[in-house]
Symmetry: C2
């Protein structure tokens, strides 16, 4: 198939999206419909602060490092015939440039910032110049002195890089319309279909990502071949077309066909991206068997392989899920990108099926993984998000790459730097996760100060103002700014951790319980619906099958997981000498949660296995707890989420 | 310095060792003196069985695989100029050949088996042919198309391979005298001194092993330059001459100088070998500061970084020690070779200082790591020795390499196959660990059925017969077969787990407590000393700082750690539904330990973090426990050493 630019420019029909600011995920069918990034505007609060830091600091920080590390320069070197000698970075370095472009595209869609648009165009010009006539684009393969194209599907990441390129093209098409980036992405998509189609290379990429990207490009263009190709990739996966590796084929989910698997496994980011793309394929092809299989995998993964924070992946060695209930707090990997992959998967299932439990997990992951990673100034990041730091780490150098998981403190850039760019595109498009519509009305899934202005599918306009200090406070006021006269339904998610929640409609207070509440009525402009989700500190105990945290409890408050950080301890009191009474009172004062701990002197250096350990409690010590996402912001420290409990 | 074969042949003076069967470690000074492999003969029992299986099956199995995998063929390929194209195996494949040679040499020293000697000579001839005129010998470096010599000290393993070559030469010199293998090893040793001496490459190898090897070759030859070179390597270590790597320089102990470090860290095998070599250097140079530092590191490592089994190294990613008390049972790495490295370290400290705690750890490691690795027929091996197998693994193929740690069952050979050859040399020389002499008499450190026939340094001859079924039974009868008339001292180690031990001398029964007991008297031929170490099953609790096993207990009996294996459970009762009462009675019948467990039905697939977990015990179920070293011998299974306990 030849590329026809004129046809391709016409093949980007969704101009309506551009006015709405674009949305990352736009299924053609399903229980709920997403909103555009200009339909939900974050107002001052927890998430707006992070989105603004991303806009004002992280994007420039990332662009700076992509230049400095030479990963952007790889494209120039390709044009100037200086590869492979001049190439810098890992085999997937191209993808970080594409994720920055995607982040910039959403940010432009949301804000219309023309200077940002110019920066985006400048990068796109350098990328586009490196694309080969047949659509191939990768700075690491195919030139003299490099490995041949597609000669290392296990580790080469070529299709993975295309996936992020196409996602960037999708973001651009939905927020700006057809331009050079869209064109580059379309050429790449066609090249992939030509190369990996039914008569092409009958394999898959060692790192999924091309699957959701191709479906989204199908959604943008209506070009069925992209969907067919994505379906082919999903169907091929799990049939051992990739070589076996030391970690086993489960590492790249090539062990079991997607529709036959029972749980997510292997590399956690790969697993999440693949599952997200498979939902996309299932939705667009009406494949309910596949969709049901994915929903089942989600349930089992959440029940057996997910950290309290929502984090996924417990192993450092292969950045992978462990066995069921193998969820050690100590050295929990919980990669930031795996959290993003989990949100992508849950969001697609939520749109397809509407079950509020998907939004529950998104909330937990946003507040306790996504919010944990970046520094307050948006220029340092956690790659992994452990739940127990035994020994204070070192402060990574501000001017050097660090290995992906070397430190207990946030680092400016990594040799494997997937997380910063992944956060950037997520924060730029964050508002998309707050609300949806269906034929009946509006659904609020995440609570944040925000304005919502949209039209129902039948054309009726609705405007809401959401006023809240959530999650610090559970009082959520939803003011109806604009409403049709006819009745419609406002659906509010009631988080699974909720007790004693109430809703006040038209002056009437009603108790509501976990799940969701639907308010169907003739709303009037100016009226206020008040949802109260009491966010009291509570003790949480683990399933006894999670061996590594037996005998411990965690403190949560609303959706926020708390931790105990050494910075809050008197000097000379090591973290591992503290324990908590199972019936302890958690006191709250000015938003601070304080618990009383018992301190026992540490034992000496003898053989650490012996008879009965004395259990008498030590001296009492009240210590403030810290929201987990706030840890490691005061210098090197030790920290634990799960705290040993004793009786009496 | 040029090589002078005549001088070198004369430089192997210790012919006395040959009659005594050789010994792996022969310090020139220290508190205790080792015995030769023909001075202590194992009799039928726990260890003789394993030593015979090693002799009759493992050595041939290893030789077969070294041929089959092409690692022996690498030496032929070097001679025939077929490298690098024909090279097989990892960068350290040469070392496996050398470890087999060392094993064969000890075995020949012990048994005088001439057919084994011929096999050894045949392999040596192939190795020797590949040595270059200047003494360099490595099939992976230095030829056209290969990396230059010593261009990758971090990962190249060249000095590591030499270390094992020299150890093989030492074994040969001590058991057979000067021959081609000794000559090859001496040439290599000289080449190293020429290349890495004070004016040579000022660095170290990424994998320690050359250090103990050079000291031992000094002990064989009296050539001071070998000791000086070993000391130089020990002193250079920890001064960041190696490049930084993703795991950090602690991985190869190049982070902190040996005499300044407080604890073993990084790659556990590397740490053990380095520590062993550093003790050797300290002993031979009279460096008490260095020796004290190593003893301190040993104590801290044992108190904070050692599994109940004696196993060391908790991390899969870098095969490394974790932080203090980071000792998860689940996915415990506890590499077989790290156990061997720990025994090497402890044995050298025992010889230097005489403290019975070193022998305690050796015993624990022999029974629970070394004995766990090989299959009963000696042809399959554990590379790692986890303390908790959650899911039954798969049976590795009998005809293929497997990755080092992929399975829950023993495998015939590994891509990284250090453990089988390491076990082979250890089993061949095992009797050396049983006893020592000093000016006063004999010390028994490990208890096994054995005959001992030696002379004290002053020339007085002593013969003992040790009759015991230890560790199945704690009754140990020591018959004096030959004794001088003058008094001498018999010192017996009393293991640290002992309670109610007694010793009977001349009809008088005395209680003895953990540590050691010294019996100084005029012994008479025919008299029997009876030591009773009651080996009752007991519950062991962990230090509360070992988070991953909080709320659990283990069962031990004498030096043997027990486990609960799914093969002993009724079908339909998953391992993770069982718990044990903290005050449970352990009943013993015919050597079998049975405990009563409570079985709770597993919970469903909900969010696994919630309110208070109900603690009522479930149905009672008596289940036999299994010595840990016996696990995974009945097919794929799940297993745990640490068992959850509940009160009441």
């Amino acid at each position: 198939m030849t590329i026809n630019d004129v046809v391709r420019a016409d093949a980007v029909p969704e101009t309506s999206w551009i006015e709405r600011g674009g949305t990352p995920t736009a299924p053609g069918t399903g229980r709920l419909r997403p909103l555009g990034l200009r339909e939900v505007i974050l107002r001052p609060g927890f998430w707006q602060e992070r989105q603004q830091t991303n806009q004002s600091a992280s994007l420039a920080h990332i662009e700076h490092w992509l230049e400095r590390a030479g990963w952007l320069g790889n494209f120039d070197a390709a044009v100037q015939d200086r590869l492979p000698a001049a190439r810098r970075g890992r085999e997937f370095a191209d993808s970080e440039v594409y994720k920055l472009l995607e982040a910039m595209a959403w940010e432009y869609g949301r804000t219309g910032d023309e200077r940002l648009d110019a920066r985006l165009r400048a990068i796109v010009a350098r990328v586009a110049a490196a694309q080969e006539p047949d659509g191939y684009l990768n700075t690491n393969f195919g030139r003299p002195g490099q490995q041949p194209r597609y000669s290392d599907l296990e580790w080469g990441h070529e299709l993975y890089c295309y996936g992020h390129l196409i996602q960037a093209g999708v973001a651009r098409a939905r927020t700006s319309g057809h331009d050079e980036l869209v064109q580059v992405a379309l050429r790449a998509a066609d090249h992939i279909c030509d190369t990996f189609g039914p008569d092409g290379i009958a394999s898959v990429c060692g790192h999924p990502e091309i699957e959701p990207a191709l479906v989204e490009m199908y959604r943008v263009t209506g070009q069925r071949r992209y969907l067919d190709q994505a379906r082919l990739f999903v169907e091929r996966r799990g049939r051992q077309t990739l070589d076996d590796i030391e970690f086993g084929r489960a590492y790249f989910q090539d062990d079991i066909p997607v529709r036959e698997a029972g749980v997510l496994r292997g590399h956690a980011v790969r697993a999440g991206y693949l599952a997200a793309g498979a939902v996309d394929v299932a939705v667009e092809t009406g494949d309910t068997e596949l969709l049901d299989a994915l929903a089942r995998q989600w349930r089992t993964t959440v029940a057996r392989r997910t950290y309290l924070t929502g984090g996924m992946g417990s192993r450092h060695q292969d950045e992978a899920f462990g066995e069921d209930f193998s969820l050690p707090a100590d050295r929990a990997y919980s990669e930031t990108c795996a959290g993003i992959g989990s949100v992508m998967f849950s969001w697609r299932l939520l749109l397809a099926q509407g079950d509020p439990r998907y939004a529950d997990l998104i909330e937990r992951t946003l507040f306790n993984v996504i919010a944990t990673s970046p520094s307050d100034d948006g220029t340092r990041f956690f790659y992994t998000n452990t739940l127990h730091q035994r020994v204070p780490g070192i402060d990574p150098p501000a001017d050097a790459l660090v290995p992906r998981a070397a430190s207990s403190l946030r680092a400016p850039w990594f040799a494997v730097s997937c997380c910063p760019t992944n956060l950037a595109r997520t924060f730029a498009a964050l508002a998309a996760y707050l609300a949806t519509t269906d034929d009946e009305g509006i659904q609020l899934h995440q609570y944040a100060a925000a304005s919502l202005e949209t039209t129902l599918p039948d054309g009726r306009g609705i405007g809401l103002e959401i006023d809240t200090e959530y999650p610090a406070d559970g009082h959520i006021a939803i003011r109806i700014v604009r409403t049709p006269q006819a009745p419609w339904t406002l659906t509010l998610r009631i988080p699974h951790w909720t007790t004693d929640a109430t809703i006040e409609v038209d002056g009437r207070l009603s108790p509501v319980s976990a799940g969701s509440v639907q308010i169907r009525r003739r709303f009037t402009a100016g009226e206020v619906i008040v949802l109260v989700l009491p966010v009291r500190a509570r003790l949480t105990m683990p399933d006894p099958r999670i061996d590594a945290i037996r005998g411990c409890a965690a403190v949560e408050r609303g959706p926020i997981v708390f931790c105990l950080e050494s910075a809050d301890l008197p000097s000379g009191v090591p973290l591992d000498t503290l324990s908590m009474n199972a019936a302890t009172d958690l006191t709250e004062r000015d938003g601070t949660v304080v618990a009383t701990f018992h301190v026992k002197p540490a034992d000496g250096d003898d053989w650490p296995y012996g008879g009965v350990v004395p259990t008498e409690p030590g001296a009492s010590l009240p210590v403030p707890l810290l929201p987990y996402h706030r840890w490691a912001r005061r210098g090197p420290s030790s920290m634990r989420v799960w705290i040993p409990v004793h009786d009496g």
